[in-house]
Point group: C2
DNA sequence: CCTTAGCACTCTCCCGTCGTGAGTGCTAAG
DNA sequence: CTTAGCACTCACGACGGGAGAGTGCTAAGG
């Protein structure tokens, strides 16, 4: 019935008006009237003219009215068009770039801390929720492994990945081992397996076990035992979230039902990871709006995401999550820049000396 | 004008009625009418009689009416009385005790993971927000310290506390050190300083430096350098929170203003720590209701808290945070039991073999 | 043919009114 | 001291009308 006319090439003026409507709506969060667009004066057209165009735009499916006598609101299609060709993605202001750089390379830090900083930066600079998916440890390359005696047969296993991630885990050995022995085991494993992914290492250990079952010396036997326990880090890709508090001030969250659904969305980390993982490959920023995905559907929320990684190897993803009515002009460059910088920071922490 | 009569000893019947009102309110979250108390039939009194008593209780300051023609609602004083002498703190059901025990001593874990489990248990079993304050690392006793080479001059410092807490930190040494040297340094420091608190160690290192400035050998010099960097862990007492989602379902959070204030409260971790730290000393559960404290004032929220620690040494605090209308009969035993079990779990992780 | 002024129309939103029902306080009888 | 009865109060929801914002349409003007 509505939107009969299939969307076609918009005239430049239509585009200008659509753009103005979207920008106004992003600022005000309220339906935009023809009059307000006209009064803004950028185009020198009367409200009536604007009105005609807006009626067209509604027919093409770019605008919608909450009710007859209200202004108009952009649709998902409008946001997509806006992002693709209407907005001018201004570069991130120098101040913010500097701020990001400083925050990211402040004092020596492990990759985990860098991730936390990144999450905080995302939310701080966008006033939305910042999300970072940390790498799945199984895919990560071993740099060093080390064991420390705790009490009794308990041993602390410290794993350092090539990208600077550190994880530790308490394991229980079959017999009590003295510190020196643990050091030897650590050395042995580090020397033999550094550079392989944890997944590969596990496979090689199994092969070793099968092969030399008879003639294994004690060091090897113990090494295998401890390594299997210590490297069985769950595949947990972590999800870091920050800025939930900021986003509560958004007018779209004036209704508590929505707040609840939002938090349920956050609670379901698995789904978050699944969605964001799709943004891993392919460089550049991806934007998921409204019910492009079940995740953001009912909330009218959007996700601006990109991947990060070292070299060609994708490691994880980062994103901003907020109302569809979002300052894409600011937020997209932010995600873009931060993704790049995060990758750089990890590469440095990997390469060591590559500091600028 | 109101509450003219100073509160005196309540008659047994008054107490029974007050108790019923509180219990009913805790369940329903709605003002309790005389009729509903009467109909419940536990006392066999008519609504009118109940009404008289309730009028008295209001005068003594135990009940309040939101408006003239509404039922009555307990005041802070009522909750305090309830907790002290009206309620029967039933023991935690065996099922829940078992669940806690299992969750807390599942597979070898470091103290940090235990803390996380505890936080989750608190919120899960109470449907409120669970809070755990982790120990200030400065007060903690060193068990072992270890260094791992990263890239270049970067070194990963792993500190294990006597209570099973593990922390790592990336530091930068003055010169690049090989793995063996780092192991030697770690051994040296562990042997000489295990058992002292980090604070003491820092003091002793300073003394050492001053004293032997001239004749320091290289090992000592390097040890001092690395230890100073590695042990300068910020005094950060962590705050773990869980269950924010659950608490959103409470009817008291139907208003978003409150939700916001709640999250602001959570964001101000420093104040949370300060308040909870008061619950460290003195064993037993402490309850802070409504505006006994600025923190919970406007929200009409309460805090049920207790401390945990190993032996005589208090380490941190744990608490449940939720609407004043809270199932104290369930929640207080829960906090009590969990505090005890958490202390036990840490003691075991310390003592090593003390497992049941 | 495009633009614009004018105007009627349609909604939502805001208020004030009113009826209803829950709950109370008081009084008088048991 | 308890309880039934009754009048009173007050929040809540429904109803209704007026105001204002915004639209769509039409007809005049460049």
């Amino acid at each position: 019935m509505t939107s009969s006319q299939p969307p076609r090439q918009l005239s430049p003026r239509d585009r200008e008006i659509l753009r103005d409507v979207i920008v106004a709506y992003i600022l005000s969060a309220e339906p935009v009237s023809s009059r307000s667009v006209s009064k803004q004066g950028r185009l020198g057209l009367s409200a009536a003219t604007i009105r005609n165009v807006m009626a067209d735009l509604e027919e093409w499916g770019y605008l919608a009215q909450p009710h007859t006598s209200a202004g108009r609101v952009p649709t998902r299609a409008a946001y997509h068009l806006f992002i693709e060709s209407l907005m001018q993605a201004r570069r991130l202001p120098a101040r913010e770039r500097r701020y990001i750089d400083e925050s990211l390379q402040s004092s020596p830090a492990d990759a985990g801390q860098i991730m936390e900083s990144a999450t905080k930066l995302l939310s701080e600079l966008s006033h939305q929720v910042g999300i970072v998916v940390t790498p799945a440890l199984g895919e990560t390359v071993l740099k060093a492994i080390d064991f420390l005696p705790l009490s009794g047969r308990r041993v602390l296993c410290v794993v350092v990945s090539g990208d600077g991630f550190v994880d530790n885990k308490v394991i229980e050995s079959e017999e009590e081992l003295p510190r020196e022995e643990l050091v030897r085991i650590g050395n042995y494993l580090t020397e033999n397996f550094a550079g392989a992914t944890l997944r590969e290492i596990r496979a090689r250990l199994l092969a070793l076990m099968a092969e030399e079952r008879a003639q294994m010396d004690q060091l090897l036997a113990r090494s295998i035992e401890l390594a299997r326990a210590g490297l069985s880090l769950e595949q947990r890709q972590g999800v870091l979230l920050d800025g939930t508090r900021e986003v509560l001030n958004q007018p779209e969250l004036a209704d508590i039902g929505r707040v609840r659904r939002l938090f349920e969305t956050f609670a379901d980390k698995a789904r978050l990871v699944a969605l964001l993982s799709q943004c891993l490959r392919g460089n550049g920023v991806r934007v998921v709006i409204g019910d492009d995905s079940a995740l953001t559907s009912e909330l009218d929320f959007s996700l601006v995401a990109t991947g990060y990684g070292v070299g060609e190897r994708p490691l994880g993803a980062l994103a901003i999550f907020g109302p569809s009515r979002m300052e894409y002009e600011r937020v997209i460059p932010l995600v873009d820049y931060l993704g790049e910088r995060l990758s750089r920071a990890l590469a440095e922490s990997f390469a060591g000396e590559a500091r600028t």
